[in-house]
């Protein structure tokens, strides 16, 4: 098992014919993901390798969608996928206006659809499906569920996990923006319910209080061991550290507050990324 996507999930790529869309459609397909088509309005009827291209999402039988369109078109593309009930809708695109993100999230809630992102590397259920831009070769099938606000930091920690023999059930980047769809709470809930997942790694960073809320949630509802890493311990207040959501405002959103909240509910937080497998070893 895994969460959100597996080898039976039929995925349509919105914005498949752009530079990024093309490269990643092919890579996802090569990995074995069921990519059933691409959507680029005006290019319907064409093919891209062996991937058929359609003008709109309703022309293709799909279960889920992944979006690569430019930021200004993301809202419309997401609404198209949501209105058809596709889930999850994975939004890779960065720089989506926060007002559009809020609109999408509300609409998705009304249609009981999961959104991943925006500004996410996507997700992978190793050996089954890749719905994103994560480099698949560093992942391995296994029992660790990983959820992260960051892309490359995820790769760093996945690499350590894989080298140390810990494969993954699903690894998901929830995105670096202030307003995102799937968050720590909803992802933790899925990992708790997933029989294959035996332990959870949660990678947080400065900004907001998602980690503090996750700590409360873990205390109440999560029986599986959780290991964490928080980036940005030395970040100054008031500055956005690359991600739109990674900013300390006043006293809120500091790494210190997050680590304290997690430690208080018994979650160990690694000082450095490479310590994650060692902590996991002691818990399993």
């Amino acid at each position: 098992m895994s969460i959100l996507v597996d080898d039976s999930t039929r995925i349509v790529v919105q914005g498949a014919t752009g530079h990024q869309g093309q490269f990643h459609s092919n890579r996802m397909k090569q990995y074995g993901t069921k990519i059933v088509g691409g959507v680029t309005p005006g290019k319907g009827g064409q093919t891209m390798g062996d991937i058929p291209i359609f003008d709109s999402v309703d022309e293709v039988e799909a279960d889920a969608s992944i979006i690569f369109v430019p930021a200004r078109f993301v809202k419309s593309s997401a609404l198209e996928a949501i209105s058809l009930g596709l889930s999850p809708v994975v939004c890779i695109t960065e720089h989506v206006p926060v007002r559009d993100a809020m609109f999408m999230m509300e609409y998705a809630k009304q249609h009981d659809v999961d959104i991943v992102g925006p500004n996410t590397p996507g997700l992978i259920s190793p050996g089954k499906a890749l719905a994103g831009i994560l480099p698949p070769h560093i992942f391995k099938e296994g029992n660790v569920g990983l959820v992260s606000r960051s892309g490359t930091l995820t790769y760093e920690i996945i690499d350590e996990l894989t080298k140390n023999g810990y494969g993954q059930s699903t690894a998901i980047g929830v995105g670096g923006d202030p307003v995102i769809g799937m968050d720590f709470l909803s992802t933790l809930e899925r990992f708790e319910a997933d029989k294959e997942t035996k332990a959870i790694v949660m990678i947080g960073e400065i900004g907001g209080n998602a980690e503090e809320l996750a700590a409360e949630y873990i205390k109440e509802y999560i029986s599986k061991p959780v290991v964490s890493y928080i980036a940005g311990k030395t970040a100054p207040p008031g500055k956005r550290m690359g991600h739109a959501g990674a900013v300390i405002s006043g006293n809120s959103g500091t790494a210190e507050s997050k680590i304290k909240a997690l430690n208080a509910v018994g979650v160990q937080v690694a000082t450095m990324p490479q310590e994650v497998p060692d902590i996991l070893r002691n818990l399993l």
Partner: protein
């Protein structure tokens, strides 16, 4: 993007929110004419993009012409938290009976915009939220429907107003919400919203526009050179499309991906080093991006070492390696690279005398130790 008080107030006027706009000056040349129009006393307010202007001496009352000239000169020569004061707002002081707070922010967890209002205005709202949370009224806005005027009337009533006052206050709350929606703001605030003998008046204004919406909010596009929000190096980085934050240490840092760069800073710090900057070259960077990144971080004086941390997913390590070779280092460079085309990168860098580190911890430790 943060707006200055007077810029935000101009938008308030556009929407019919009562406020005193006054006059903006960059030197005292025209001040006498302004004093003649406004009358005395006047209030002089430094226009800078940092909080705590008042405490830093950036807001002064002047009762006479001489006093106004002298204080205006002082403020225009000031630096507040490192930012030079380039503009000064001159307005008529109001007779304040009471101060309220009204603002809107994005609530990340609820994924909605939320209105916050309180009868405790004029002070830091975060303090009110912490000490007396019951004094803050919250209203979550449906992102699809948008703010509605009936909701604002109910907020005005909860703040203790009736009849005409309730309607005037509700109108201000509604218009503020409309600015938040129409202008793609991520934060808007009136603190304080004063009650004067003439009615409600926005004495201060804070407005932050979502940078990601600038493609459709053209009125806020500014020439980066004019921007007061960033340092010179930050401006150069923005022009090159790189995410850069200046820090106060001496080890230059370049990495790919915000999370990995933040972790790199933390690891350098763990080994006792002080990062000079945050620089994320992003995913899929090429040799030219890398060269530019090196040019930018070395604009900062006094660097002791440079730590480059690349985990190649969509980023190709050999491209990064080529970029490093174009740079003629004056300080030692420590490179950690793994992932896509790592072997080719290793060959390129080894032949130029660089050693490649496999782990970020080792590379960070070496950069701190200088060997």
């Amino acid at each position: 993007m943060k707006l200055l008080e007077y810029e935000a107030k101009n938008i308030f006027v556009e929407y019919g929110i009562p406020t005193s706009t006054g006059y903006v000056i960059e030197d005292v040349e025209n001040l006498k004419a302004i004093l003649y129009k406004l009358g005395l006393p006047v209030i002089l307010k430094a226009q800078v993009l940092v909080g705590g202007r008042g405490k830093a001496g950036g807001i002064k009352i002047a009762k006479t012409e001489e006093e106004a000239m002298e204080k205006a000169k002082d403020i225009l020569n000031m630096e507040i938290k490192g930012l030079p004061v380039k503009k000064l707002l001159v307005c008529k002081p109001s007779e304040i009976k009471k101060e309220l707070y009204v603002g809107y922010v994005v609530d990340r967890n609820k994924k909605k915009m939320v209105m916050l209002a309180s009868t405790e205005g004029g002070i830091d709202i975060e303090q009110v939220a912490e000490k007396t949370p019951e004094k803050i009224i919250k209203l979550y806005i449906d992102p699809i429907i948008g703010i509605q005027d009936y909701e604002c009337r109910s907020v005005a009533k909860k703040l203790g107003y009736e009849g005409k006052d309730m309607l005037s206050l509700a109108a201000i709350i509604y218009k503020l919400g409309r600015i938040m929606e129409d202008k793609d703001a991520e934060l808007i605030e009136i603190n304080p919203l004063a009650i004067t003998s003439e009615g409600f008046e926005a004495l201060d204004a804070k407005l932050v526009i979502d940078d990601n919406s600038l493609f459709r909010q053209k009125e806020f596009e500014v020439d980066l050179k004019e921007s007061q929000e960033f340092t010179e190096i930050e401006k150069a980085a923005k022009e090159a499309g790189l995410a850069y934050v200046e820090l106060d240490g001496d080890i230059g840092i370049i990495g790919c991906g915000a999370g990995l760069v933040m972790a790199s800073l933390d690891v350098v710090n763990h080994y006792g080093g002080k990062p000079a900057n945050f620089l994320d070259i992003g995913g899929g960077a090429n040799a030219d991006n890398m060269k530019k990144a090196l040019d930018i971080i070395t604009m900062k004086e006094g660097l002791k070492a440079i730590f480059i941390n690349i985990f190649g997913g969509i980023t190709k390590c050999d491209e990064i390696a080529k970029g490093i070779l174009e740079y003629k280092p004056k300080v030692p460079v420590f490179v950690r690279m793994m992932g896509t085309n790592e072997d080719e990168a290793k060959r390129i860098l080894n032949s130029a005398g660089y050693e490649l580190y496999q782990s970020m911890q080792e590379a960070a430790e070496a950069a701190v130790g200088g060997n």
